[in-house]
Subunit: 487 residues, 2 copies
Amino acid sequence: MERLREFEVIFYPKSVAVIGASTETTKFGTVFLDSLVQFGFKGRIYPINPQAKEIMGLKTYPNVKDIPDPVDLAFITIPASAVPKVLEDCIAKNVGAVVILAAGFGETGKEEGRKLEREIAKISKEGDVRVVGPNCFGIYCPASGLTLLPGANFSKESGNVAFLSQSGGYAERFCQQAKGLGIRFSKVVSYGNACDLNETDFMEYLAEDPDTKIIALYIEGVKDGQRFLQTVQEINKRKPVIVWKGGLCEGGGRAVVSHTGALGGRKDIWDAFFRQTGAVRVNSLEELIDTILIFQHLSSSCGRRVAVMGTGGGTGVAAADACERAGLRVPAFNTKTLEQLRTLVPPIGASIQNPIDLGNPWTSPSTYRRIIKIASSDPQIDALIIVMWHLPLFYARRELLWKSFQQIVEVPITIGKRQRKHVVIVLCATPTEVEMLEVEGEWRRIKDRYIAARIPVYPTVERAAKALNNFIAYHESQKHINDSSTK
Amino acid sequence: MERLREFEVIFYPKSVAVIGASTETTKFGTVFLDSLVQFGFKGRIYPINPQAKEIMGLKTYPNVKDIPDPVDLAFITIPASAVPKVLEDCIAKNVGAVVILAAGFGETGKEEGRKLEREIAKISKEGDVRVVGPNCFGIYCPASGLTLLPGANFSKESGNVAFLSQSGGYAERFCQQAKGLGIRFSKVVSYGNACDLNETDFMEYLAEDPDTKIIALYIEGVKDGQRFLQTVQEINKRKPVIVWKGGLCEGGGRAVVSHTGALGGRKDIWDAFFRQTGAVRVNSLEELIDTILIFQHLSSSCGRRVAVMGTGGGTGVAAADACERAGLRVPAFNTKTLEQLRTLVPPIGASIQNPIDLGNPWTSPSTYRRIIKIASSDPQIDALIIVMWHLPLFYARRELLWKSFQQIVEVPITIGKRQRKHVVIVLCATPTEVEMLEVEGEWRRIKDRYIAARIPVYPTVERAAKALNNFIAYHESQKHINDSSTK
């Protein structure tokens, strides 16, 4: 518990010193300070710069030790060689914790950098101050109004997703990309070289953090493989852990070494890690976000048997292929379902098989509703994927058709509350001409409607199917682990 | 040659009769007629409807036989059971060719439908009139101002890509999605059940068509496997053939039968097809379009060794992984390249390894240019993938940084003309909030700049790498086939 309290000053500081803030607009220090100010950090902010009296209207001190009040968190953005001295100043000032953005340590691959990193690790240990980094971006915690990631426009709302990232760039992009999908964060940490606090330390904290329900990681290499594995194994039983492991290929592995100085590890070792922990494995930023989206919105798990519903035979064929490629199944409906569907779907130019092809995109909202209900009532069906690709078509004839299209869009939302089976929407991406930007705007508004109704929505069937399969696989692995442990 | 001339009335008709046009706006016949008129077909258009005198301001005839002038092409959108009679009317009128949109034939799986399909096949054969369909959307040929696909807003420009699609929906969506990427078409055909003209017939025509350089197919099943294989094998040597085969999985296969009545075929048979023909295999609409884009813009092939350049260590790690997963290689640079890069890339917080991490997104345009030149001059590098993810970042601070960002964007374009190695751009997708729509607008404008400069551009490294790998694999298979045949 003592250990956990140490993290409180990292995530909920009441004052932050930005050491290396400057008056030049494109310097990292300035970008981060600017972002912290614009994001609206409510605590006190102290820029530290020996040459300036004031930066961005904030009183500036030459040294952290000159600040008259207590400092919870120091953010260091100066050259690596000057870090040890400044770290000692922070200890002398009794700063709560330190985030070191500066690069030029172990990740350079040079003895000089490695020596510096050992030095700051030693100083922090002896001075008993916790360090995040070096070579990182730091922390984003909306509950405390804090962002040390460059994210002036990050969401100010809190959520239940934590993200630990060895890459600062991905921590930032992840927050930016996830925002539009309504994914909200408890804590985001870019921890870089992890000379003091490492991935497992943060995992342990997040395991106990009541605000965190889902933990996502972008990881290049780990400090203590065995401890990390056991920690993930334990946490994953209570909170889903979704891991994107970068650098398993030749070029990727080389990049890992020069990025964070970590040893990427062999592919077979990581295969075993995923097998033993049951953590969810994803392979890209896109898949990471897609997967979190479904974990956020679907409460209980389900089987792999999906019904697919769309308009157009080709859409159905391709959707079924994509589902099965992702690991889902698209089984035939039972006789009762077929009989009921037969009364609603045109006998010609359409299909009541699974996938259902409605034939005509101008299906009435009430028919649309009944078809969804019938398909999802089939006992052989666990979830429903609805493919909507005709937004541009309806938009082009919006004087006539927009109202009925809007009604169709609402059907899965109004139906959702009364039916037990999961629904996932594929709202196909819109054409990319500049002149079609308004259609993209409509796409976004409809996407927001579904997100607000807690229905996961994706631009392609491939992405929807992968995410759904990841979700189901997680719950299957949990069941398997539980079954094994009770034997 | 006689056979080829038969196709001229299909693609370049001077007059079109729309049999089944109606005054109801959401009827298929009306949608197609409306689209033909709005697209600006320059020939004569004759709506046929026994109940109307005039539709959309066009004089309407009760029967195709009542039209006083010659009719090149008839488009039939009436119920299946009425088609044989109307087809006979078309023959009596000496119509050049017929497109049958109507569904309700072999694809229903019922004897009644199969019988009807055999009947229209027989009538067309005896009457010596070529039929496209039934159960199809038809033709889009910008050179003749014709679209029987619902595509009032399709591009009026011609291009060198032909697309044959068993699915009408995909023919339409393909044209819509490809438009924004500057992909322009010679001919697009949705041929449905192929009761008369089938995929191989159209392939033979496109092989000789001087306007067609690249042939794409969405295919569910073929009529005569052996003839199709030999035809593709032959054509693929001269014009790349890119094939998306739908329905190889359980649900997909079932959907194929009810969609176009085709037999999907076993996976191993299709594996052999791709091996023997060297046709490019793709698995989604997205991958089909991505692949065509690269075939359109890269003139010569290259090896698989790519340099990856971006900002941020994580970006590089993930990009290298994605490249290698797609089949490309990301080899280390040679000593000379490393020495040259060392003078330009910051020693700290960046990396001159391949992938190159520029460290700071605010790299000057001139440095950016020199780094690209050095990386692509390495003899061990065949192509360069440039990852740009910081558009939202620059846009957020556009008063300060937009001009220099625009200059960076231009670098690969101005450099392109002087260097021999291929460049592919990854312009990362923008966040999806409604409020960020302007950033999406900028994304689209930059995308257009690259397309205009004939540089392929993709929203993710995964998609770029897959497309590049497909392009290289095609040329490798051609070399292999040529080598085998000269032995």
